[in-house]
C-alpha cells in the first residue's frame, strides 16, 4: 500500500470536525511552525521538499514563496486558489469537502511563513456546500484559538476569509482571480508585474492551489527532506489524481509520483482497469487543457519504455509524443468514445469560458468550436482539418493568459494523434453519425523507427 499524506485519515468518521481532526494529529504543524520555526525556516523546508505547484503549471512552491517581495509597511497576502473548474479535475473539492481542516492548517502555516495577516480562500461559486463547510471549519478553528488574534499565544494574528467566486473558469488564472477578489471583472492582468511584486490591492501576493497548501502540513510535520524522499526525481511527494471516464473505479486517488501509468489504470488498488471489459483508446492525463494521447503513447514512451505518473515522465517527448501532469485530472476513454466529439466538447467549454479580453482567444475559440461542430456532425471537409490546425496555431502563444494555450493544445494534439478519425468523419459523414471509429490502431505497440544510416555523400 502506497504512502498517503493528505488522505491518510479520509475514512475516519467525523474527520471534517476539529475534534476528530486534532485527535488524528491535526494542527501539529501549526504548533510546530508557530512555536519552534521562523518564517524563513518554513520557506526553507518547503524548498527542500521540492514541492511543485499542484494547480497545473508545476512551478516549485518554495521558489514562488521566496520571490515574494517584502517591502516595509506594506501588507502581504496569501490567496488560496480553490476555483477548481478544469473539466476532469475534482481533487480540491474532494479535499475541501472531507478534510477542510487540512486546508486551514496549511493556510495558517503558509500565511505565517509568508508574513501574511489576512488570507483568502477563493472558492468557485458553484461549490456552495464546500464554502459552508470551510466557513464552519474556520469558526471551529477560531473558537479553538487557532485563528484570529494571538494564535496559540505566539503573538501571530491571522484572519482567514472564504470568498465565493462567480463561477468563471478564467478566475482560476491567478491574476484574474485577484481582479475578481478585488471586486472587479475577472479579466487576467497583463504580466509583468507578477503578483509576487504587485498582486492583491497592489500588494505582494502569493496564489497557491488548495493541494499545494495542504501539502505544506506533512512537509512541516515530517520535514522537507522526508517529503522529498517520496516520489521520483524532481517530482517529489504525493499527488491527488481525479480519475474519471470509462474506468472500473473512478475517483480521487493519492499516488506517489513515479507510479507507472499502466499500474495506475489497471491495478485493483487504483482504477481497476477499463469498465465493461473494453479496451483503452486514449487518455487526457492532467485535465482538459493538456494534450490528449492515444493508449499506446499513454502507457509507453515513443521508445517503448514505460511512462510514469510524474511531471517529467508525462511530458517526455514534448508535445509530439508527450503530455503534461497538469492538475491531475485523469480522463480515460474506451474504444467506444469519439475523439472528435470529445475535442468539440472541450472547445465548447473554452469558447464559453474565454473572458473576451484579447482577440485571438475571444474570436478563435468560437471559430474552433464551430469548425469542430461541423466536422462532428458530418458536414466537414478535408480543408476544415487544416484550417482548424491553422487557427489553433494562431491562438497558441499569442494571448495574455494561458487560457488560449489551454484551448489550443487539446485541438492540436487531437489532430496530431487522431487525424485518421477526423478524416473518417469527413469521408464517411453518414456512417460517422451512427457508428464509431473504434479503437483502430491507437493501442497497437509503437513501431520502432529504424534509424536511417546517413550515407556519405
Amino acid at each position: 500500500m502506497a504512502r498517503k499524506l493528505l488522505l491518510e485519515h479520509i475514512n475516519v468518521p467525523g474527520i471534517n470536525t476539529l475534534a476528530v481532526y486534532r485527535e488524528k494529529g491535526g494542527y501539529r504543524a501549526v504548533e510546530k511552525a508557530l512555536k519552534t520555526l521562523t518564517p524563513e525556516e518554513i520557506v526553507e523546508e518547503v524548498k527542500k521538499s521540492g514541492l511543485r505547484g499542484r494547480g497545473g503549471a508545476g512551478f516549485p512552491t518554495g521558489m514562488k514563496w521566496s520571490f515574494l517581495a517584502k517591502p516595509e509597511g506594506v501588507p502581504r497576502y496569501l490567496v488560496c486558489n480553490a476555483d477548481e473548474s478544469e473539466p476532469g479535475t475534482f481533487k480540491d473539492r474532494y479535499l475541501m469537502t472531507h478534510i477542510p481542516h487540512a486546508l486551514i492548517e496549511g493556510m495558517i502555516v503558509s500565511s505565517f511563513a509568508l508574513g501574511a495577516n489576512t488570507s483568502y480562500i477563493y472558492v468557485r461559486g458553484e461549490m456552495m456546500p464546500q464554502i459552508r463547510i470551510l466557513e464552519r471549519a474556520i469558526e471551529e478553528a477560531k473558537a479553538a484559538g487557532l485563528l484570529g488574534k494571538n494564535i496559540l499565544g505566539t503573538g501571530y494574528d491571522l484572519e482567514l476569509y472564504v470568498q465565493p467566486g462567480g463561477g468563471a473558469y478564467i478566475c482560476g488564472e491567478e491574476t484574474a482571480l485577484l481582479e475578481s477578489l478585488e471586486g472587479k471583472r475577472g479579466n487576467p492582468r497583463i504580466k509583468p508585474p507578477f503578483p509576487a511584486i504587485a498582486g492583491l490591492y497592489g500588494c505582494p501576493t502569493v496564489v497557491n492551489n488548495v493541494e499545494s497548501i495542504a501539502a505544506v502540513v506533512p512537509i512541516i510535520n515530517d520535514g522537507g527532506d522526508e517529503y522529498a524522499k517520496i516520489g521520483i526525481g524532481r517530482s517529489t511527494g504525493t499527488k491527488l489524481i481525479s480519475a474519471s471516464g470509462n474506468l472500473v473505479k473512478p475517483g480521487v486517488y493519492e499516488i506517489e509520483l513515479g507510479l507507472p501509468v499502466e499500474e495506475f489504470i489497471y491495478s485493483d488498488e487504483y482504477c481497476g482497469g477499463i469498465a465493461n471489459g473494453k479496451r483503452l483508446k486514449a487518455t487526457v492525463a492532467g485535465g482538459s487543457s493538456v494534450p490528449i494521447l492515444p493508449a499506446n503513447l499513454t502507457l509507453k514512451y515513443a521508445n517503448g519504455e514505460p511512462r510514469l505518473m510524474s511531471y517529467e515522465s508525462l511530458s517526455e517527448g514534448g508535445f509530439a509524443t508527450g503530455t503534461m501532469l497538469g492538475s491531475g485530472g485523469f480522463i480515460a476513454f474506451d474504444e467506444d468514445q469519439c475523439i472528435v466529439r470529445n475535442t468539440w466538447n472541450f472547445s465548447r467549454f473554452y469558447h464559453h469560458e474565454s473572458c473576451g479580453q484579447c482577440s485571438p482567444c475571444r474570436e478563435g475559440t468560437g471559430w474552433m468550436e464551430k469548425i469542430l461542430h461541423k466536422i462532428e456532425h458530418g458536414h466537414g471537409s478535408m480543408e476544415d482539418i487544416d484550417l482548424l490546425w491553422d487557427v489553433q496555431r494562431k491562438i497558441e502563444g499569442n494571448t495574455i493568459c494561458p487560457l488560449g494555450d489551454a484551448a489550443a493544445w487539446p485541438v492540436a494534439s487531437a489532430i496530431r494523434h487522431f487525424r485518421d478519425e477526423f478524416e473518417w468523419h469527413v469521408k464517411e459523414p453518414m456512417k460517422s453519425q451512427s457508428t464509431n471509429y473504434g479503437l483502430a490502431n491507437y493501442a497497437n505497440p509503437i513501431e520502432k523507427k529504424e534509424e536511417v544510416k546517413q550515407e556519405n555523400l
Binding site: R185, I190, H351, G356, R362, E363, V391
Partner: protein, 336 residues
Amino acid sequence: MSDLVKVTIDGITVEVENGTTILNAARQIGGDIVPPAMCYYSKLKGSGGKCRTCIVKVSKGSEKDPRPMPKLVASCRTTVMDGMEVLNITSPEVLEARAGVVEILLINHPLDCPVCDQAGECDLQNLGYEHGLQKTRYEFERRTFDRIDIGDKIQLHMNRCILCYRCVFTADQITNKRVHGILNRGDHSEISTYIQTAVDNDFSGNVIDVCPVGALTDRTFRFKNRVWFTKPVDAHRNCSHEKCNGKVTLWYKGEDVLRVTARKDQFGEVEEFICNECRFDKKKTSDWTLEHPTHISDTSVIASNHYETFKPLPVIKENLALQEANQRELEKTFKI
C-alpha cells in the same frame, strides 16, 4: 547607470528613456517599423495588451540576459531593456502571427464599410488592407447585436466593435462618472451601459474619437458624408469649459461644418480631449477661429481628396478622357 537605454528595432538603434515600451521606442524611430496598435492609447492609462496586433519578437532580451523571449510579446506593454533587440517587420513569424490576429479580428466584423461612417479613417480597415486576406475563411454566421443609441449624440454599433476597451478607459479617466463597461464574456462580450442609460457628461463625446473602428459614431454626422469628401481644417475657440482648450479639427463639406473632432496626431491618437459643447453644438464657421488645413498623411485615403496633394495623378496626365473627367470633378468640388 544612465536613464537612457539602447534598443534596436529591426536593425535601427535608438536611445530611449528607461521604462519606455517597445511600441513607444518604435514610434520615436517612426516609419514602417512602428507596430500597429488597435487598443493601446498613449493618453489612456492601463490601455493596451488586448488586441495583440502589436506583437513583436524579442530576439535578445537585454545586454545582461541575452536570451530571447520565448513567446511573441505585446510591444505596447513590454518595457525595453538595455541592449534589447526587437524584430518587427523583419521577422516572418511576427508578420504571420499579426496576419492571424487580423484575420481573427475580422471574422465577426460585419465588413459593412460601404455604409460605415468610420470608413476612410478606420484603423481596422487600414490593418486589414495591409495584413488581411483577400477572402475570408470563416463560413459561419457572424455574431450580431442590436444598435443602441447611448444618448442623443452617440450611437453604439456593437457588431463592429473589436473590444479594445479604449472607450471604457476614456470614460473612466477623463469623465467623473463612468456609466458604461463590458457585459458578458468571451465572444459575446459587449460594450454597454447600465440598462441603456444615456451616456451623459461633458466629455462623453471623446469615446467616438478613441474608437478605432465604427462601433461608436457621431449621430450628428451619421450618413452625412464620406470622410474623404470632407476637408479637415484646424481651428480653435475660447471654450468656457475649464478642462477643454477648444482646439479642434473642423470637417468641411463646401461651406458647412459637418462635424467637429479633436485633433489627432500621426498615430491617430487624440492630442487633447475636447468637450461635448465644442464637438456637437458649435457647427458654424463663425463659432471658430480657423488656423490652417490639417495635415493629412499621404497614405491616408482622406488625402486623395485633399488640397495639399491636389495634383493630378500621373496616369491622368497621359489620358485625355481622364483629364476631362478630372477637370469636371475639380470644378464640382470647388464650386462653393
